[in-house]
């Protein structure tokens, strides 16, 4: 019953037309998308200073990378921030999309557009607001926690910048805040496309609501969930603007919130080591490929394959 992706037209026709449809994309992509990447990979084998010249050093950048404790810390930080942001974000987005999908909802347009406001508010301003919210002495979060009596269990005056997990929580909340509206909209668009008769026939077959959610909604959202998971992982591995605007390019005094992309950027800006940055970039890409592959396989299994 589900829609399979397959080629439609007989081979000859499809070949010609297919190429025509993708050629503008390939042309621009080739020059501005692929070429820079190939060049970056090339640079990763050099010690590259834009003004002092470059020299070939083979795999040295990668060797240094493998023994670089700050690289591994960046990996851990990136994963931590990703998990703390992505899971709540997805759950909340599905919840919100669900509320918004109700045809009986009043002021639909209002709700749907207002949720996009965080995404369009400039990241610099969001960062300042969150820095204030999470200020150690006067931030509203600490004040609220104190008010809620959390000091009795030992939580007070949390340093949301200096300590590792608190900084991850603060940055993750920035990420969730910015992305929630856009994620909800994407899930909403797909939820609305689910034909109602699927639910009706399932209901007629005696399926409970939970079963309907599992066997009708999720498979119908499969494409979207896969998409969001892959895009989310890719985005998560490239988390950059949030930690940068929150606490600067070095990611804190102990690099507690230095993410992979931030660490890369630090190499370019502060250390002026473009070659090493390129090597980090290659490493991030490989990591992303592996994880996306895993994601893809996992989501395929969960949704029960082609049902």
């Amino acid at each position: 019953m589900a829609f399979r992706s397959s080629t439609v037209a007989p081979k000859n026709r499809g070949d010609r037309w297919g190429l025509l449809y993708v050629s503008p994309f390939f042309f621009i992509f080739g020059i501005f998308g692929l070429l820079p990447i190939l060049f970056t990979v090339y640079v990763s084998f050099f010690h590259w200073d834009p003004l002092a010249g470059h020299n070939y050093i083979g795999l040295d950048n990668f060797r240094n990378l493998f023994t670089d404790p700050y690289f591994y810390r960046a990996v851990r930080n990136t994963f931590s921030i990703f998990l703390i942001s992505f899971v709540p974000q997805t759950i909340l987005a599905l919840l919100l999309a669900n509320f918004l999908a109700n045809p009986q909802l009043k002021f639909k347009v209002f709700w749907r557009t207002i949720l996009l406001v965080p995404w369009v508010t400039s990241i610099l301003s969001v960062a300042i607001i969150f820095s204030e919210l999470f200020g150690q002495n006067y931030g509203m979060v600490n004040v609220a926690m104190h008010y809620l009596g959390l000091s009795h269990i030992g939580i007070h005056d949390v340093n949301w910048v200096g300590q590792t997990i608190p900084s991850h929580i603060a940055i993750s909340s920035m990420i969730i805040y910015r992305n929630l509206g856009y994620a909800s909209l994407i899930y909403l668009a797909s939820m609305l496309a689910i034909p109602r008769d699927l639910y009706e026939s399932a209901s007629l077959d005696g399926a409970s609501k939970l079963q309907q959610f599992r066997y009708v909604t999720i498979p119908q959202l499969k494409n979207t969930l896969t998409f969001m998971l892959i895009v989310g992982t890719i985005g998560g591995l490239q988390t950059f603007l949030e930690p940068l605007t929150y606490g600067g390019v070095q990611g804190g005094d102990s690099r507690q919130f230095s993410t992979l992309a931030l660490y890369l950027y630090e190499q370019i800006i502060i250390n002026n080591k473009f070659g090493y940055a390129a090597a980090i970039g290659v490493a991030i890409t490989i990591l992303t490929v592996i994880i996306s592959g895993v994601n893809f396989l996992v989501t395929r299994r969960i949704s029960g394959g082609e049902s």
Partner: protein, 289 residues
């Protein structure tokens, strides 16, 4: 009434028309408030003097200085220019992205061509390289080869297509356009492009418009690349312009927040006008599908 929604909002009660549960409205209100509050806070900071932001508890009420700050912003950067520049660029990029990515997405979803699977993997793979690197290389290309530094071409042309857009449209077309429909159209004697235009496009138009919206917003908010490539204030995009409002080691919060507020305001206006159309479009598309 979709059973999915019932699951969250409560059981059917006979044949009565169902109401949306109170929980839904409360939850939505909370999120709506949280979404709009920072923007409101921006306005508060922008309209008060700098001492307000240093007070505890911070002021939550707008002050009288907004237009004074706005004047200062205009004195520092050509704000209207920046807004117009950004609007034009973002529109062009959005249109191009929708056009090219939909076509390419269609090819990946429904057509065959040599190297299809491999190239899709490559495209998705390129999404995985951090943008900060690409920026440096692109800059070198722009400066030494294309000579597009300080030219809008440097911003528009590389963004005319996007791996995200192609991937997204591929998923959408794959999910929403049944092969049977295409077969039927073919049997009816439709030529390939006509099929694309009259069968595929109407179905996926709402999602394509969403892509256009995201493209537009993404370009509007883009900061890193335009700040590297644009040098004349008259050509700045809005985020670059707002970034001009920094001090050397310090930040004039009222000034900066005023700029940031003005950078967001046009988008809100856009939402007011386009939002209804867009959302209705999504709804229509959903019903049709």
């Amino acid at each position: 009434m979709s059973p999915l929604l019932e699951w969250f909002t409560g059981p059917r009660t006979g044949k009565k028309r169902r109401k949306v549960s109170r929980t839904s409205y409360i939850a939505l209100s909370v999120f709506a408030f949280l979404s709009i509050f920072p923007l409101y806070w921006l306005f508060v900071v922008a309209s008060n003097s700098n001492t307000e932001i240093s007070k505890i508890p911070p002021s939550l009420v707008p002050g009288p200085n907004f237009f004074k700050e706005l004047k200062a912003v205009y004195a520092a950067v050509p704000l209207t220019n920046a807004l117009v520049n950004t609007a034009v660029i973002a529109l062009i990029v959005a249109v191009c992205q929708v056009f090219f990515c939909t076509m390419a997405g269609y090819a990946y979803a429904k057509l065959a061509f040599p190297g299809k699977s491999a190239s899709l993997v490559v495209i998705i793979g390129t999404m995985m390289l951090p943008a900060q690197l690409g920026i440096v290389v692109l800059y070198i290309m722009m400066a030494n080869f294309f000579h597009w530094i300080n030219d809008f071409k440097a911003i528009v042309i590389p963004s005319m297509i996007g791996a995200f857009g192609v991937f997204w449209m591929r998923q959408i077309i794959d999910a929403q356009v049944p092969n049977e429909l295409l077969e039927a159209a073919k049997i009816d004697g439709g030529k390939n492009f006509r099929i694309y235009r009259s069968v595929v496009v109407p179905i996926i138009l709402p999602s394509a418009l969403v892509l256009g919206l995201f493209s537009f917003l993404g370009t509007w908010n883009d900061f890193l690349w335009p700040s590297l490539v644009l040098n004349s204030p008259k050509r700045f995009t809005i985020q670059v312009a707002v970034n001009q409002l920094n001090g050397t080691y310090t930040v004039d919060y009222a000034l900066k927040m005023c700029g940031a507020f003005m950078a967001t305001l046009p988008l809100l206006v856009l939402f007011v006008f386009v939002g209804r159309r867009l959302v209705t479009g999504i709804m229509d598309g959903a019903v049709k599908g």
